[in-house]
């Protein structure tokens, strides 16, 4: 992997107290000691973010999730360079563009065109660079002839579309996005996602905050789950989302919340003892020929009998990208009773995976998300194939040349 596009090491952010007394105190400090504001920063104020370590590779999309007030936006602003960390270091490679509020700072009295120029320059382009891209911006925003009208006449949708159009045309090395894909109509939302996918392919590192967990799983490879300013888990997006959902569910149920490491958590009602990849005969294996029958078998022990439970299994590559995932609920199995010890196997008549190494996540949780036991990367296996096909899907296939004169493979 090349040098990270974004690197945060031990980053904390403390906001100063904004009380009247704090202000007067700091004014006095400013006037008497000349130590302008910094005086009470060290021990007072609100710790919005504590000790976050993070690396994002170029081209990677990284999500930050968590409840309101957990420090997500603070983290984005630190990466964007809008705020400075109280301690730790933030390193960003190349040009950063922040989509925190689209069209922030548009001047209502001047035209959309002039605003686009100002906005583009603010995002770090030179005047001529903006002029070169102006047609593209107008085209993408779909504002048409209104571009020469003052923006105070724009609808909120037009406003946001213009803001987005400017921000993505800047072609940043790092794009920081705060919950903005929810804006605009359906068609524009698709356009935005297309454009984000294009930036991903170009190698733009994207840091994304969203409460739309489905979108996070769809867009991001990895995610950080923040709670009360502290990182709970950094890992594959699916796992981080699952952990977050589990916490939300346990808070709602008022039950014992899931505890554990970043790799494995749960409230302990059920424990996954052993997870194996098994061949067609049920024997544990580590190595598998592509296209052979196989299964993933999980053995469990129940401490507190449950009648609301779902078993889920996910397979992903080492870089965190998902290959396949399902659970008993998705496949229509209704839970009745889970007690004692037992095992459950997800069987594949033909596991048509491409050659390479795969990791397995196994979970048993309540239907609402509360994790009994959630084990990330609890097992791994390697698939071999006669030919080194790229990709992770290797279906049975054959060539049928009708025209080209070719010799079939000898065999």
């Amino acid at each position: 992997m090349s040098a990270p596009a974004v690197r945060l090491a031990g980053v904390s952010k403390r906001y100063p107290p904004l009380t009247r007394r704090g202000k007067l105190h700091s004014l006095k400090g400013a006037l008497l000691h000349g130590d302008l504001w910094r005086v009470n920063e060290e021990h007072n104020g609100f710790l919005a973010l504590s000790d976050v370590d993070l690396e994002i590779a170029p081209g990677e999309t990284f999500a930050v999730i968590g409840p309101n007030g957990s420090g997500k936006s603070t983290l984005l602003k630190l990466v964007a360079g809008i705020l400075q960390p109280t301690s730790g270091s933030v390193e960003v490679e190349g040009r950063v563009t922040a989509l925190i509020e689209l069209g922030a700072g548009f001047h209502p009295e001047i035209s959309g065109r002039d605003n686009a120029i100002v906005n583009g320059m603010m995002l770090g382009l030179s005047r001529s660079e903006v002029m070169d891209r102006l047609d593209e911006i107008v085209e993408f925003s779909g504002i048409g002839p209104f571009i020469d009208q003052p923006v105070k006449t724009y609808s909120s949708g037009m406003y946001v579309r213009l803001g987005f159009a400017v921000a993505v045309t800047v072609e940043p090395n790092v794009l920081v996005v705060d919950e903005i894909l929810a804006v605009g109509d359906e068609a524009f939302a698709h356009k935005c996602l297309d454009r984000i996918a294009k930036l991903q392919r170009r190698g733009t590192a994207i840091l994304l905050v969203s409460h739309d967990l489905g979108l996070v799983e769809q867009l991001a490879q990895r995610a950080l789950y923040l709670k009360g300013g502290a990182p709970v888990l950094t890992g594959p997006a699916g796992a981080a989302v699952a952990r977050y959902r589990s916490d939300v569910a346990s808070d709602e149920a008022g039950s014992e919340s899931a505890a554990g490491s970043s790799r494995r958590w749960g409230n302990g009602a059920v424990t996954l003892d052993q997870v194996d990849l098994v061949d067609g005969g049920g024997r544990p294996i580590r190595l598998l020929m592509s296209g052979e029958a196989a299964g993933i078998r999980a053995a469990y022990t129940v401490r507190m009998p449950q009648d609301d439970f779902v078993f889920g299994i996910a397979i992903h590559r080492e870089d965190g990208s998902y290959v396949f995932g399902t659970n008993t609920d998705l496949d229509g199995w209704k839970p009745e009773r889970l007690a004692g010890r037992g095992q459950i196997t997800l069987e594949f008549p033909r596991l048509e995976l491409g050659p390479g190494r795969y990791l397995v996540d196994v979970a048993v949780h309540a239907k609402g998300g509360l994790a009994y036991d959630y084990a990330c990367e609890i097992a791994s296996f390697t698939v071999t194939a006669p030919v080194g096909w790229p990709g992770c899907y290797a279906p049975r296939h054959g060539w049928n040349p009708r025209g080209p004169a070719m010799t079939p493979p000898s065999e």
């Binding site: 004014l27 360079g81 705020l83 001047i110 770090g124």
Partner: protein, 272 residues
């Protein structure tokens, strides 16, 4: 990063972002007269009307004559014009960061750009009003009321000194106003006091009480306004000491202002 590391000086950051400053000044000017019928003509008309009123009032209503050299309306105008520049800049500087809060909080944007934009857009207005003064002086000279002050060729140097002083003050006011909201109200009063404590509507020579005279001489704004009026109206070549004193004051203002600004710079985005 384009916005510059926080350690970099204010001046170098402004130089790097000169394109942005230019565009924002143009935006300010464009937005200011947007929707008005006369547009930029207002920049000329406002001072012209002001001058007309002074002329009527101080020629026929209260015939005032404070120097033997020039008619009072011209004297007053040549003092009020630069004073309007300073007070306009400072009053705007006190709110400019708050007004641009969305940009500071939501977009990566170096904060020093905004006080600079305030200074330069007021400078443009000042430069638009200046010809009115010069034409009025020329008309008066044509009628034999004054000698035309050829020292006016030195005006660019004077304006440079003014720019340095006003720029420093604007930076200090802008940064401090973010943290101490009281500054805005305080500023109104301070400007009122300085308006009368600076020889704007009266010449320094008119003051008879020695203590008062020394006090007003000690006012750092005094050398600046005197330099300006000597050059642009009275046709006196300022002494080297006068140049040095004014330039010294300006340099101190600038250094102090940019120091305060860079000390508070990092905290602006989260406080504004």
């Amino acid at each position: 990063m384009k916005s510059g590391s926080p350690k970099a000086g204010v001046l170098s950051s402004l130089y790097r972002n000169r394109g942005l400053v230019t565009v924002l000044v143009a935006r300010d000017l464009k937005a200011r007269y947007r929707g008005t019928f006369l547009g930029y003509i207002w920049s000329l008309l406002n001072p012209l009307l002001l001058l007309a009123v002074y002329t009527v009032v101080f020629t026929w209503v209260i015939p005032a004559r404070v120097t033997s050299e020039v008619p009072f309306p011209l004297f007053l105008f040549a003092g009020l014009l630069p004073w309007g520049f300073v007070s306009g800049v400072l009053l705007d500087a006190a709110i400019v960061l708050g007004d641009n809060g969305p940009l500071l909080r939501k977009v990566v944007c170096p904060p020093e750009v905004f006080p600079a934009v305030t200074v330069f857009s007021h400078l443009v207005h000042h430069l638009l009003a200046l010809p009115i003064l010069l034409v009025a002086i020329a008309v008066a000279a044509g009628n034999g009321l004054v000698r035309f002050p050829w020292t006016v060729v030195l005006l660019p140097i004077v304006l440079l000194i003014w720019l340095l002083a006003v720029g420093g003050l604007a930076l200090a006011v802008a940064a401090l106003a973010v943290h101490f909201r009281d500054l805005k109200d305080l500023l109104h009063n301070l400007l009122n006091i300085f308006f009368f404590a600076t020889p704007i509507i009266y010449p320094l020579e008119m003051i008879r009480v020695p203590v008062l005279k020394r006090l007003i001489q000690a006012n750092p704004a005094t050398p600046l306004i005197q330099l300006y009026r000597d050059v642009v109206l009275l046709g006196r070549l300022p002494s080297l000491a006068a140049w040095g004193w004014a330039a010294g004051v300006a340099a101190v203002f600038w250094l102090l202002g940019s120091w305060i600004f860079s000390r508070l710079r990092e905290t602006i985005a989260e406080t504004v």
